[in-house]
C-alpha cells in the first residue's frame, strides 16, 4: 500500500469523532460523561486544524490548536467546579435532576 493519506481522510475522521461526541452529549445523562463528550468534540476540531495546517503548510492552524487547548483547560477547571457545586447541592449527577436552576 503506497497511498499517502489524503486531506479528506483526516476530515472524515474528524467528522466521525465529532458526531460521536454529539451523540454522546445527546444520549448521556451523567454530567461528567457529557463533559467528556464535549472534550471529544473539541479534539475533533483540533484534528481538522492540524490537518489543514499540515496540508497547507501554514502554522496558523497549530496556533489555533494551542489556544483551543488552553480554552479547554480553562473549561475543564470551571466545568468541574460547577459539577462539584451541582453535586453538593443536589446529591446527584443526573442532568434531569438539574433541569431547574432554582433549588
Amino acid at each position: 500500500m503506497n497511498m499517502a493519506p489524503q486531506l479528506s481522510w483526516y476530515l472524515a475522521l474528524s467528522a466521525v469523532l465529532f458526531t460521536i461526541g454529539v451523540v454522546g452529549v445527546l444520549v448521556k445523562r451523567n454530567v461528567i460523561s457529557m463533559f467528556m463528550c464535549i472534550e471529544l468534540m473539541l479534539n475533533a476540531v483540533n484534528l481538522t486544524f492540524v490537518a489543514f495546517s499540515s496540508f497547507f503548510r501554514d502554522v496558523s492552524g497549530q496556533l489555533f490548536v494551542f489556544i483551543v487547548m488552553t480554552v479547554a483547560a480553562a473549561e475543564a477547571a470551571v466545568g468541574l467546579g460547577i459539577i462539584i457545586s451541582i453535586f453538593r447541592n443536589r446529591e446527584s449527577l443526573d442532568v434531569d435532576d438539574s433541569s431547574v436552576l432554582k433549588l
Partner: protein
C-alpha cells in the same frame, strides 16, 4: 506506510470514542477518552506536528484527564443511568433530518472533490516548536495575552465555585481545589 498508520490510529480513535459513549461507568469512559487522545497525538505526529502532539499528551491526556478522573473519584457516584424518556413522535422528524444531513454529506463527498495539495512530510519547518513560538509571539501576540487573562479568570472562577459558601463568606479550608488547574 503512512496510510497504514492512519488506518491503525483512526481505528483506535473511533473504537475508543464509541467505547466512551457506550460505557455506563464514567471512569471507563474517561479511560477510553484517554485512548482517543493518545491516538490523536499519534495522528498529529504523522501530520508532522510534533509540538502539538506533545502538548496533546501533556495537557489533555495528562492534566485535564487527571482532573476529570479526580472529580469522578471525589464524587464517587455509583448511580445507574436512567433511561431517557422516549419521544416516539419525533422519530419521523429525526429520520428526515438525518436524510437531509446524509444528502449534504454525499453532495460534498462526490461533487466537491478539490481537496488540494500533497501531504507534508517533506522538508518543512511548519509544526516545529520554533516556528510555533515565532508565530505565537509575533503575529498572534494579542490572542496569547487574552488567553492568559482567560486562564486567570478560570483559576478565580474554579476556586470560587468549588469552595463551600462561595466568595461571600471566605473561609480558610476548601480553597485549594482550583489551584492545580493551571496548565
Amino acid at each position: 506506510m503512512l496510510a497504514l498508520l492512519f488506518i491503525l490510529f483512526a481505528g483506535m480513535a473511533i473504537g475508543c470514542a464509541i467505547s466512551m459513549v457506550a460505557q455506563r461507568n464514567p471512569l471507563y469512559s474517561a479511560i477510553s477518552l484517554i485512548g482517543v487522545f493518545i491516538s490523536l497525538a499519534c495522528l498529529y505526529v504523522t501530520l508532522s506536528a510534533p509540538f502539538i502532539a506533545a502538548v496533546q499528551v501533556i495537557v489533555y491526556a495528562g492534566a485535564i484527564m487527571v482532573l476529570v478522573v479526580f472529580v469522578i473519584m471525589l464524587l464517587n457516584v455509583d448511580q445507574p443511568e436512567r433511561q431517557p424518556r422516549r419521544l416516539r413522535s419525533l422519530v419521523p422528524i429525526a429520520v428526515g433530518l438525518a436524510a437531509i444531513l446524509f444528502a449534504e454529506a454525499a453532495f460534498i463527498i462526490f461533487f466537491v472533490q478539490q481537496a488540494p495539495l500533497t501531504p507534508t512530510h517533506s522538508i518543512s519547518n511548519v509544526g516545529l516548536t520554533s516556528s510555533i513560538g515565532t508565530g505565537l509571539f509575533t503575529s498572534y501576540l494579542l490572542p496569547f495575552e487574552i488567553t492568559s487573562i482567560l486562564l486567570l479568570m478560570a483559576i478565580v472562577g474554579a476556586m470560587s465555585l468549588a469552595r463551600r459558601g462561595g466568595l461571600i463568606r471566605p473561609r480558610v479550608d476548601g480553597g485549594e481545589k482550583g489551584t492545580n488547574n493551571r496548565q
